[in-house]
Amino acid sequence: MKKKLWKRRLFISFLIPVFILVVSFMAIVGIISFRAYDNQLNNDMKSIVSLIDRDIRSGIVNEDIIIKYDVIGKISLIDEKGKLISSSDNAIKAEKNLLGREEVKEALRLEQGSSLRYDDIKSEYIFYKAYMLSNEIIIIAIPLITTIEMIIAVFGYILLAIVLTIGIAAVLSYYFFNRNIKPMMILEKYIRRTYKQKSIAEVDIQSLPKELKKIADIFKKTTKSLEESAANEEEQKLYLFSTIDTMEDGFIAIDELNNIRLINRSAKKIFELDTEDIQGSNLMVQTQNFQLIDAVNESEEKPTTREIIIEEQTYKLTIYPLGNQKGKLITLNDITKLNQLENMRKEFVSNVSHELKTPLTAIRGFVETLKDGAIEDPKTAGKFLKIIDIESQRLEKLISDLLELSSIESNKISRLNVDIDIKSVADSAVEAYKVTAAKRNISLANNIETSQIIKGNLELFKAMIYNLVSNAIKYNVENGTVTLTLKEVADGILLQVSDTGIGISNDDLFRIFERFYKVDKSRSYDPESTGLGLSIVKHILDLFDGDISVDSILGEGTTFKVYLPKKEDKNE
């Protein structure tokens, strides 16, 4: 629409001067030709008058003379008294007072006069001209129509000329305009298409004139550099977005109206949001978690941190307000595990201090008593010394267990790769605990028949098996049994140590591998029980890449299942 307007405007602005020029030129021509006609008429009339005058002087005055000169109009001749001498005009012939005529009056006064009057008889305008001779007056009557016809004829031609000229000018200029504007149109199309399809359009710009081609080239260059920077930006954006999206922490960006602008995968997972388009929707409405909104509303200027619980998971919620109150950034960091670890650490420290302090208190107590004089009584002294011995043994065992545990944990013990025959280790364990078992009449059976070789640190493996067997005996009932069995399972070996002991309740089951955890609280003062045995077993198994699980029925017995993977591939 706009381009047409421009084209039309240009076209019209060209035609207007042409039109004015042509019209004014033609007007001048018209005026000149009319003047020429007027002069001609006057000259004609004057020559007729002088001819008639000559005739009168020579005495020939009759009807015929007048008729003879009746060329441009009716001619009448009257004397100064108004008497009609001769006339070719019937209207004048009928008139009586000829001296009353305006042109005659004027002629009498000024030698010649003129008047334009409507003639009722002929019903037309007639132009009268009167000339005063020596004694006579000549009246020439020219019907106006003659003049007007003449004028119309002249102006008709002029008009025709104007129309023709302008018509030709229009057609020609239209043609030239189109020709000159065409490159402009091509350039316009080129730019429009490029804009529309967002890449350089395939329009032939080689045919453009030099100036326009320059514009097209500059446009092309600008577009290309814009395209490049846009692609760059897009890539940057994608990179940034992927980084945020794959972050382990939840991330949400909101605007000043609490509408979500950006939300990453983790945050969606935390609030169980569908992956559908939730950008721009309200955070409160989406998460339905007022704790979050409370935190968001409270953090106006400074970043705030607090802990919130969502679906039994603890999250560290941090809110960073952006400048100018343009919105806020929210991060959610799952600290459930961290909290658990922290609690475990606290528990461990208090347990260690407690476990160390108990025997020490006992030792110091008895030493004090001995110092105070009990040493004099050999019987009491012997008893006390025995207790001190037991307590210091317990302390020693505790410390050695702790050291072993920490050395296993910190991987200080090398993974010596020697062949370990599980059957022979089990045999030696049974041999070692035979006496202890026999004391409580517990039958110890090694049901492992074939040798199974695995690779690893023999001492550690032994420690693990001994620990399990010792536990099985310790927590057994009188006349109970302890059985060791071996099964081959997919990719590994399953070693089972079963007892018919007191069993472990479900509440305790998942905690027995924790350090210092003792199922039977009353056993706390057993010097043999440090509460570290199963913890050591678990850590040793980690070195073997193995795993341990427990099945237990309270009052019926417990089975520890040790899974050991076959690691042949690794050793080769």
Binding site: L257, N282, M284, V285, Q288, F290
Partner: protein
């Protein structure tokens, strides 16, 4: 008020209703802890916090009425505001019932009640589930969830009837424990009422979306 700020005002109301719903869920969760552990301190705290919910409901109602008077909205916007008035009052009532349950928690303690009967606990779980779902249905304008809540309310009614029967038999056999069984009866009644409230909210959610108020028999033909 321009169209933009009018929309913003509606969004605000919407946001506040979801917030109210979210708070209602928390009140119920706390009530459950107080009831199962017979925690008197927590019960008192919940009871005191009920004023906060009441204030919130009044705030929402005032906002809605302000918009209606100033803007004279029509069609969907008007429906939304009417729904907001109804639903906010429903949530407030749920919290009231919760507060009444906490009051009974203190009574139970006085009556030396033991652990919560399984039936009551189950009713509580069903109720909490209904409230959670209805908040989600409102927030996401999910008609299907709303409809399922509407239908599941029957389950709560059935559970209530069962509870009444069970309590009756218990009272007949344990005359000395009449007091605590009456408390359980009231508690179950409150659950049943909360269920009715979720039912009402479901109805209004459907009204908000569809513009028609339906009863159960033709609810399925939506």
């Amino acid at each position: 008020m321009s169209r933009g700020s009018f929309d913003q005002a509606l969004n605000d109301v919407n946001q506040e209703i979801v917030e109210l719903g979210s708070r209602t869920i928390q009140v119920l969760e706390k009530t459950r802890v107080a009831l199962t552990n017979l925690d008197e301190k927590l019960a008192k705290q919940i009871y005191d916090e009920d004023d906060l919910i009441d204030a919130k409901e009044i705030e929402i109602s005032e906002k809605c009425m302000n918009i209606i008077i100033r803007e004279q909205p029509i069609a969907r916007d008007l429906r939304f505001l009417l729904t907001a008035l109804k639903i906010s009052s429903d949530f407030e009532r749920i919290c009231d019932h919760s507060a009444q349950i906490t009051k009974l928690t203190r009574k139970l303690l006085k009556h030396n009640a033991g652990t919560l009967p399984g039936g009551v606990e189950e009713m509580f779980n069903t109720t909490l589930d209904l409230v959670r779902r209805i908040v989600k249905a409102y927030a996401t304008s999910d008609m299907e969830i709303a409809l399922s809540v509407y239908e599941d309310d029957d389950r709560l009614d059935q559970a209530y009837k069962m509870m009444v029967k069970w309590i009756k038999s218990k009272i007949e056999n344990n005359v000395d424990q009449v007091d605590q069984y009456i408390d359980y009866l009231f508690i179950s009644k409150y659950f049943e009422r909360i269920g009715d409230r979720t039912n009402s909210i479901a109805k209004w959610i459907i009204y908000k979306e569809k513009g028609t108020i339906r009863h159960y028999y033709n609810m399925k033909n939506l």
